[in-house]
Symmetry: C2
Subunit: 68 residues, 2 copies
């Protein structure tokens, strides 16, 4: 599993654990809803600054979002 | 400390623990020497695929390179 797939899996798991839709998470992270969908399909290769932005509303770190 | 600074600090620490110069590490990671220098100054915002590429020759994960 490459790093984009790990991010995809972790983001979906943590988002769902909060009971958030992709729309709700997108609002919280201040990104577009389609961007969340792309990340959760492993279809994006974001910068580490974006990963940190996605991590913040979930209460985790960028490192956590890439972990196995 | 933001995620770019954590990457900078971790990369330098792990590279030096191997006794590798920036030139040697750049060769092992197949990136340009000036790119390594930029990363270690926190002056770059790499994608997660690049972070994985930097992690591989150090025997760590992308997640490890961004950890506190």
């Amino acid at each position: 599993m490459d790093v984009r797939q790990r991010l995809a899996r972790n983001l979906r798991r943590l988002r769902e654990a909060k009971g958030w839709s992709q729309e709700k998470f997108a609002f919280e992270a201040n990104v577009h809803r389609t961007y969340v969908s792309d990340i959760e399909r492993g279809a994006r290769n974001p910068t580490i600054t974006v990963v940190e932005k996605l991590a913040a509303p979930l209460g985790v770190t960028a490192s956590d979002l890439l972990a196995n």
